[in-house]
Amino acid sequence: MATRDRLTEEVAGLDALDLPKAPRVRRAVRLWAGFWPKIAALALALGLWQAVVWSGWKPTYVLPHPWTVLSELGRRVGDGTLMTAAGITLRRALVGYTLAVLVGTAIGSLVSRVKLLRVATGSLITGLQTMPSIAWFPLAILIFKLSESAILFVIILGAAPAIANGLITGADHIPPLLLRAGRVLGARRLALYRYVILPASLPGFVAGMKQGWSFAWRSLMAGELLVIIARKQSIGVQLQVARDLADAPGLMATMLLILIIGIAVDSLFFGTLDRAIRRRWGLMDPATS
């Protein structure tokens, strides 16, 4: 049929014209564009630090030169003390955070589904999130003594509400049109939850997990300073020991390690996950991704 062929051609032509064409940027160029501002910011921070030291505001045994701290960091990483400490701390972080994700997801999905629970506990969850995690430690120590459990307890209390809240907000922000589309296709109750609500709330959930991680990491550091367990040379213990010995370079080297781990997990893991989702959903400008 001649008309059919013409229609097909016309459709194909219009489609070709309609498709958004993203400018292709070379990978190396793109990576460099994301990389150099970070390096510049780091250099600026080190420069400021050096300037403060040079100003003679504090003696160098209290506020050492950046170079002294960096070489101390290198030495401690090299001889293994900080690596062992990081190992102990990261294991706690992993266990605590995993438990927090499980608890937070369970609470979040229940509360987002059941309206009564929602009304009853919605503000409580947000309230828990604003509670400084260090305030939980006296109670945690009373209940669990000076033990790993006390630390894990506070990590869960710190991170789970953020994760639950992420899931709840994610479910709240689903466009009603998508829910209607799901129902028209025949998805009801559990099927609607599985095929529409759950995937649609994924961006909010990931944002909550990301926030939960930073709460967990903070709670863990507070915990390791308060709950000192014998023969467990964690990062927190290193920090405490360095302070007791007035070892400023050692103290600041340990702090740098804490910062590096926090940033690495946040940007490498959550950053990548978040970008992948946003790219998939088309929530990102292709030129900057």
């Binding site: 489609d15 309609d18 025949g186 529409v196 959903w281 088309g282």
Partner: protein, 263 residues
């Protein structure tokens, strides 16, 4: 070309042929003095395999009626009967952004109970029907508005609906894309002969597509006139026959709209 004008309920008597029957349906939103009557004792019928367009100004309850027919809402009074499965297309494509084009179509099949093995060839043939076979692995945001609406059409077809309800599905598209989609829809309907109830405020679009055009009054929505369209298919929107009948229907609509200006 003939246009038959009949006031009141459509003069169709063969009940066995009806795919959609709306009988004295009223819909009231809210309660007390703030209640809004969207539909008032609306009665209409769509025969099996018929293409009916519903035109009316804002506030005639067109979308309300479609939502009730799709089972998303229920009437305050009166009865509704739809024969077989319904599919509904919205003004926006309403595709799921986390799924690919193929995934969106496949989900409709899956929710209909089609097994995994059968889904793949069905998705391919459905995408071929809307000329999108080359875009199966794209995400909705990578497509143009017209292409997205075609995916939505393929998804609605995947439901294997006997009655296709369309709520201004081409309202937000540019004229050229819309013309092409009219041709596509007409071709698919000619091949597969499902029943269509198509809501629009564009009178020419209604005449271009429909076997019968129903005009609704506004606030509350009531049937005001019915026009039979006997222009041979395939039609084109710019032909004099389409324009002439569209002019007649527009006149009827403007009488109705002016009535609200006096009130």
């Amino acid at each position: 070309m003939t246009a038959t004008l009949s006031h009141g309920p459509a003069a169709h008597t063969k009940a066995a042929e009806a795919a959609v029957r709306v009988d004295a349906v009223s819909k009231i939103f809210g309660h007390g003095p703030e209640a809004v009557q969207a539909l008032d004792r609306l009665t209409l019928q769509v025969d099996r395999g018929e293409f009916v367009c519903l035109v009316g100004a804002s506030g005639c309850g067109k979308s309300t009626l479609l939502h009730m027919l799709a089972g998303l809402d229920s009437p305050t009074a009166g009865s509704i009967a739809v024969e077989g499965r319904t599919g509904l297309m919205f003004q926006e494509a309403a595709l799921f952004p986390w799924l690919t084009v193929a995934g969106n179509v496949a989900l409709a099949l899956r929710l209909r109970g089609v097994g995994r093995a059968e889904r793949r060839p069905l998705v391919t043939s459905l995408l071929e029907m809307v000329h999108l076979e080359g875009f199966a692995s794209r995400r909705p945001h990578e497509l143009s508005g017209g292409m997205r609406q075609r995916v939505a059409l393929a998804r609605a077809l995947a439901q294997n609906a006997d009655v296709m309800l369309m709520d201004e599905p081409f309202g937000s598209l540019d004229a050229m894309t819309r013309d092409l989609l009219h041709a596509e829809l007409e071709r698919l309907w000619t091949e597969r002969r499902f029943t269509v109830l198509f809501v629009t405020h564009n009178v020419r679009e209604a005449v271009r597509l429909a076997d019968r055009v129903l005009v609704l009054t506004s606030r509350p929505g009531r049937l005001s006139a019915s026009f039979r369209v006997d222009i041979p298919r395939p039609r084109r929107i710019e032909t004099p026959a389409v324009s002439a009948l569209a002019g007649e229907i527009t006149e009827q609509l403007s009488v109705e709209v002016r009535r609200h200006g006096h009130a």
